[in-house]
Symmetry: C2
Subunit: 351 residues, 2 copies
DNA sequence: GCCGGTTGCTAAATCGTGTTAGCAGGGCGC
DNA sequence: GCGCCCTGCTAACACGATTTAGCAACCGGC
């Protein structure tokens, strides 16, 4: 059924030259190898007439370069997150004529191993190993055999892998600063993590880092957090419960929710108690999930730059690939991307 | 840096046989070609000791089969939709030892052409051409040269391509039936599309089909729709506006929102008018977006089976690939997947 | 007339595998 | 002793490109 592809041999024949010559011309090495102008034009014309395209599989076998990279993540479906990260990676890849393989491990070790093998079997030029929430990961052995980059994850223990992560500490600083700028100094409560750093499970890297940034800024301003409530899972339901418990005891001046889903629950709890956002209580949050603009008032939040993370990962991977092909060692740098503030309507000035 | 992969030649040498023999054994053709048991065991042992894995690129070149499929969509990031569809496809592919290339066209023709070329250059075994919202698409010429399946889209004009789509008409029927079962017969309004089929822009295939199903059931039950309001875009804001306009004129008994985002807006408008869901007004919707369980009361909605759509697309594509390799014509069937009802708390019984 | 250098191209090997035709050797029948 | 069949394996080509070494022809100088 498929009308067999045109091969280099056919182009060469039509142009009346050898395959070698045709290959050289099409690789742009005519000058270098002193191919005459007329022959060059004939080859180019023949290729155009036959609508010739290189067979990438063959080139891959011969050169070892497939212009293909693997994108492995623990899951591709949780939240919108994945979509934008993949989108960023896919677009950055396409601009460089690379194609992306994608796969997911669901956090299972054997799937991970199998997937990385399947990709190496197909001779990918490099691998992006992504996590859907920021965390420290055990680096799979299969990643050390070629260029690789960690995305939204940092290596557990020492490692020569480069990684790309959002600047969560900076995000914490921004959130605190937003409240400070609006004049809030008292009655500021956290929803999602305890008020002290040791009240956060350390696996939730984003949590401790955001909290670190928050503390940093408040301490610098002489402001003390009024309290904080842990949520075992950062879902609306848990945010709702945690906020209700808080409101039964006191009426806060401002809430810092550890993500937008928690904030959705917090809005509902505030509504239950007849409190208005932002006139009674201000709310800041993290992530910039689409829902942040759907709720009323629109939520001020510190955005996870998913799209940029995806793009950056392929850029860093390309640098690793270059350094690999030059025989030099992996770069092993950590790239932190800023998390931009989305100022909306959930924070009011306090006199 | 990469410790060069073990090749078949090395396995053969270690086992003391020719490459041909090693190849045959590892392909499981020992019986067929009368390879002695002892030789067979030696080869297998050698392969295991060296941790040999076939080079998929080489196999691809030799056999023309790369165990790779392309997933091309107009966009991979809009809504959670894409994530689940891709997840379904990725998992179904992995179970069959296939890897997925992904790419997005952003609806631009030249990107689409380039992407399909890039995939064909890499000798993909087949292509899934996905749309992120159900619609009729012009079939790209590049899809007719090999096995391909349309996902969430139907071919414009006649075509031999198979397609996989959600059963939107059935979804419309389900939504109507949910209200009928709860005793609603009067004051039922639509938010998102006009009450009559001709009040829907035909590009919005989901809209006309959902409405078709709704009409079918209501007509069969002798029930007439009280009205409907078009939303130019199915977003919360537009749903909010449309619902407010409606509420200024009348108080409905039930709302059928054309998707969950519109329903979010409708909830807000109802709240503005002091109307309670579901005691004052019942609400049914479509899609089962995550937000449906975040709002209060939880939304009864007819779910888009994204994950299953992705899986099904791979299954159908595999059948097309089989029929292609047998030299028979493409199957050209349309597969409609049921959209399940998620009964939650937004519909109350009317006496 | 010989040597050396340039110009312009090609033959042939290579990447790692799949596959087909065929070879060597042994056993058997007559 | 010859022919034939079977068993068990291998040689050799193919897939579609890249790349290196080298060949033929011409030119110029002495």
């Amino acid at each position: 059924m498929s009308p067999r592809r045109v091969t280099l041999a056919e182009v060469a024949e039509r142009a009346g030259v050898s395959r070698s010559t045709a290959s050289l011309v099409l690789a742009g090495r005519s000058r270098e190898l002193r191919i005459s102008h007329s022959v060059e034009q004939q080859v180019i014309a023949a290729a155009k007439e036959l609508d010739y395209r290189r067979n990438a599989v063959s080139v891959g076998l011969r050169t070892g370069k497939t212009r293909t990279i693997g994108f492995v993540s623990d899951t591709v479906a949780t939240s919108r997150l994945a979509g934008d990260m993949i989108k960023g990676a896919v677009e950055a890849a396409r601009e460089r004529d690379l194609l992306l393989f994608i796969g997911e491990t669901e956090g299972e070790e054997d799937l991970e191993v199998g997937l990385l093998q399947a990709m190496h079997d197909r001779q990918v030029d490099g691998i992006i190993f992504a996590s859907m929430f920021t965390r420290a990961v055990e680096t799979p052995a299969a990643l050390t055999t070629g260029p690789a980059v960690l995305l939204n994850a940092v290596p557990k223990g020492q490692s020569t892998l480069s990684s790309v992560v959002p600047d969560e500490i900076g995000a914490g600083r921004s959130a605190a600063q937003v409240l400070l700028d609006a004049g809030h100094r008292d009655g500021i409560h956290l929803i999602g993590v305890g008020p002290r750093i040791r009240d956060v499970p350390p696996e939730a890297l984003a949590g401790v880092q955001r909290l670190t940034g928050i503390h940093e800024v408040f301490t610098g301003a002489g402001v003390e957090l009024a309290g904080g409530r842990i949520c075992s899972d950062w879902q609306p339901e848990l945010g709702y419960e945690a906020t209700r418990e808080l409101l039964r005891e006191t009426t806060p001046s401002a809430l810092i929710c550890l993500n937008d889903r928690i904030a959705v629950g917090a809005y509902q709890a505030l509504d239950d108690f007849g409190l208005k956002v932002p006139s009674d209580v201000s709310v800041v949050s993290f992530d910039d999930h689409p829902v942040a603009t759907w709720i009323r008032p629109k939520l001020t939040t510190i955005a996870l730059p998913h799209y940029e993370l995806g793009r950056k990962a392929v850029e860093v991977l390309l640098r690793e690939m270059d350094s690999d092909s030059e025989g030099s060692a992996p770069l092993g740098e950590t790239h932190r991307l800023p998390m931009p503030v989305r100022l909306r309507d959930s924070v009011a000035a306090r006199s």
